[in-house]
Amino acid sequence: MSTTVAEFTPQSYKTDEHPIWCPGCGDFGVLDSLYKSLAGLSVNPKDLVVVSGIGCSGRTPGFVKSYGFHSVHGRVLPVALGVKLANPALTVIGVGGDGDGFAIGGGHIPHTARRNPDFTYLIMDNSTYGLTKGQYSPTSPLGFQAGSTPYGSIEQPLNPLAMLIAYGATFVGQGYSGKPRELADLITRAIQHKGFGFVNILSPCITFYNTYKVIPPKIAEVPKDHDVSNRAKAFELALETDHVMLGVFYQTQRPTFEDGVAGVIKQAQAAGPPRLEAIFAEFS
């Protein structure tokens, strides 16, 4: 992550493109929190990369003054990894929805978690497929009635936090778009984390699954005395579903993927010159 002495305000990250989200969409809150966090960290837009998948959340790169890549449905994590490998100095933020990240792109989560690349992954979780008009998603509750589940969803919802902790992610947190100040702080901690920083953000869909009245009464903070390095305790908190717990569940340090790649190259170099160089050397 690179910072400069230049002052940046949340305004510095706004683009000319006005968000296309429905008025009242939770994603506005996420976007504002992101601006605030970036300004607080003084991330220079030239060193900032926002990668997204497809869905309402996928449009985020268009609204952040940075280098943005609106990629393929479900493939935020591989694209972000490629960016980070090409230029480890960049601050990379991946954004996606619950369908993008946990359904079509779910296969990339365990592998990104165990590789531990140094980037941030924000899920804007609204428990529905907003852009295709409200079908049930991996985090929709049992019995969720919508176009493709006229008699209610018969699938158990997925627990993102427990999943990420189980897969070995090194930073796992949860925020709510309706609490933008706390969310900005959480995003800041995730960006500052050296390694894979995952934040699940409850971001209601005002049009197809309005949870603005459902979420607030269930909100609880992660207990102040919670030891974030205690994985078993973090898992316990994640499995507690009576409340919507906000804050950092788990954080630990492990070498990053980029560090590993650099180490491998060093080892290979110690073993001898690159094969091509050896072949070309036959000329001299």
Partner: protein
């Protein structure tokens, strides 16, 4: 080609075809590689072919478990591994059963008689020992060898156990073979020493077996095979996947780009990933991704961030990459994917060769998504084609597909190592971002390549992605803009055809029949054309390297020929394309048996066609 290979032979054989066959645990591939390496070091031109089962260890001694290695070596142009072996060496009855039918009549059969016992014979489906069949000895020259006994006898003093001793059989057999074609043992001894430097006992046992085999071999008739006159330049033996890996490294060096390879293991492409993972260049980073979608995504993300993203795969993997290839077309980013084709659909025959991904490479994406497709014609050509593909991807900011196949991947030939200066001369550069406001989809007016600005530069911040954009890089649903952009992307690729060198025609340009081929069939077709022309049957050949866009001069050139024959290892995919382009019928020649064409198959079809023309 058969020699009467007795000692003191005056005229050396121009070429000899040798096939080694045994159980997949017998070390046939290693033996073949070492034998061909010895041939190369001795100055023979060569072309090899490996044929191994998909199972790592099929049940021992059974027909599906037979693994084979064939090579043709000699002097001058050696275009194919040879149709039929002149010498067949078999390590067990199953190998004899599978391969005897292809031994040239009068050819030499070497067999390990020790293995022709009751149980092995039964597994191979023989009621009686075929080696004692007098008819076999009438049709072929049979050299009775006792490879197992000879190995165990030579290793009588070795401390190794009986099973380990038996494992040295392949070196005994290699010793026999080297002696019969007058090749020195030293290069193999050096290899043994290097390979087992941490296991002296095994190294010694293999060397001893090799020498014992050599002593047995000198008692057999010797063949004198011609060697190529020394040519200027540096040469080495190379297979298609090695050549592709080196092509990528050369591109990284010549273009001063770092390469990020996202790959997922798949036969027969994996060795490119492995070779690049092992290479010690800081310019090449490799990731074994969780699937081919991730592999392509990693590569494309890296390309956007300033590296050259690449991937290597085979048909099933290319299917999974289709969506990312579409994004690469839309975002106009460099990306090179090598498809080492294998017999499909689905898992098909995963270790066997085929050319059946052509239409998928050309059209297998949704929307109007043109991209350049290149095909390598020989193992060494994989270097040149991959290098060219990287240059094209970087210059035009486009994904490029390279088609290789299972045959090219593991076959070897002699490669002249290019001078780095030659490669530098082929370098072309991507357009430089002009001063002023950066516009992601502003283009170079000549090449139509868009201006790339990787993250990290102040003032060039921009957004790209799968949604249609206008020149300034903003999402645009304007119908006119979409039509313009679709046509610009198509024109950028179509224009490549204008800059291609004129199509080269081999054989007889005045012939009535022209063969149009592509990819790995070049060797068999070119050898057939040489043969047919030599026997007074004129044939021309145009072999395509660029399949999308097709060369601009192709239609006019083919118009002159009344008959166009298109041999392919598929059911007529290039034929379909040519018929559309030429608006006339071409004659397809299809083969989908998991094996390359033989020279005879091509010659026969040409002879049939010319007979047909005469009687018509």
């Amino acid at each position: 080609m058969n020699g009467n290979g007795a000692d003191g032979e005056v005229e050396p054989l121009r070429a000899l075809v040798v096939r080694l066959a045994g159980d997949s645990g017998d070390g046939m591939q290693m033996m073949g590689e070492l034998f061909s390496e010895s041939c190369a070091l001795a100055g023979h031109a060569l072309c090899t072919f490996v044929d191994f089962p998909a199972e790592i260890r099929a049940p021992q001694g059974t027909l599906p478990g037979v693994s084979a290695y064939q090579l043709q070596f000699g002097a001058g142009r050696t275009l194919t591994p040879g149709d039929r072996p002149d010498v067949l060496l078999v390590m067990n009855p199953a190998a004899l059963r599978v391969h005897l039918c292809e031994l040239a009549s009068g050819g030499t059969l070497m067999a390990d008689a020790d293995t022709f016992n009751e149980s092995s014979l039964r597994k191979a489906g023989y009621a009686q020992n075929p080696l004692v069949d007098p008819d076999l000895r009438l049709r072929f020259r049979v050299a009775d060898l006792q490879i197992t006994t000879g190995t165990l006898l030579a290793l009588a003093d070795s401390a190794l156990g009986a099973t380990e001793k038996k494992r040295c059989r392949n070196f005994y057999a290699l010793g026999v073979l080297l002696a019969t074609v007058d090749l020195p043992r030293e290069p193999v001894l050096r290899r043994i020493e290097a390979k087992w430097r941490n296991d002296e006992a095994v190294a010694l046992a293999n060397s001893t077996a090799l020498c014992a085999g050599g002593e047995a071999g000198v008692k057999l008739p010797r063949r004198n095979v011609a060697r190529s006159a020394p040519r200027p330049g540096h040469y080495r033996k190379i297979n298609g996947n090695e050549a592709a890996a080196l092509g990528f490294q050369a591109a990284a060096r010549i273009y001063g780009k770092s390469i990020v390879l996202g790959g997922y293991p798949i036969t027969p492409a994996s060795s490119i990933l492995e070779l690049l993972a092992r290479n010690g260049s800081p310019a090449v980073k490799t990731v074994q991704a969780e699937d081919e979608m991730a592999a392509a995504g990693i590569a494309l993300g890296a390309s956007w961030a300033g590296s050259l993203g690449i991937s290597v795969t085979s048909g099933p993997g290319l299917c999974l990459m289709a969506e990312f290839l579409g994004l690469a077309v839309m975002a106009e980013l460099p990306l090179v994917v090598v498809d080492v084709q294998r017999a499909g659909p689905s898992t098909g025959l995963p270790t066997k060769t085929e050319q059946s991904d052509l239409l998928m490479a050309l059209f297998g994406r949704h929307g109007e998504s043109p991209l350049p497709v290149l095909a390598a014609r020989s193992p060494a050509d994989c270097f040149a084609v991959v290098f060219e593909a990287c240059g094209l991807a970087l210059r035009l900011s486009t994904p490029v597909l390279v088609l290789s196949d299972g045959y090219l991947a593991s076959s070897s030939e002699i490669w002249r190592i290019p001078d780095p200066d030659e490669l530098l001369a082929q370098r072309g550069d991507a357009p430089v971002v002009p001063d002023g406001d950066y516009q992601p989809y502003r283009r170079d007016l000549q090449s139509l390549a868009r201006h790339l600005a990787p993250p990290g530069e102040p003032g060039h911040e921009h957004r790209i992605g799968g949604l249609e954009k206008n020149e300034q890089g903003w999402v645009s649903y304007d119908p006119g803009n979409h039509e313009l952009m679709v046509k610009l992307r198509a024109r950028k690729i179509r224009n490549i055809a204008q800059r291609l060198p004129p199509l080269a025609i081999e054989g007889d340009k005045e012939a009535d029949l022209i063969i149009v081929g592509w990819g790995s069939t070049y060797g068999a077709i070119a050898a057939a054309v040489e043969k047919l022309c030599a026997e007074g049957r004129p044939v021309a050949l145009a072999h395509l390297r660029q399949l999308a866009p097709l060369p601009a001069d192709l239609p006019a050139l083919l118009e002159r020929f009344p008959t166009v024959l298109v041999p392919e290892l598929n059911l007529g995919q290039l034929a379909l394309l040519l018929q559309d382009r030429l608006l006339r019928k071409v004659v397809p020649l299809s083969k989908v048996r998991g094996q390359p064409f033989t020279v005879v198959e091509i010659c026969e079809r040409v002879r049939e066609l010319s007979r047909g023309r005469r009687t018509a």
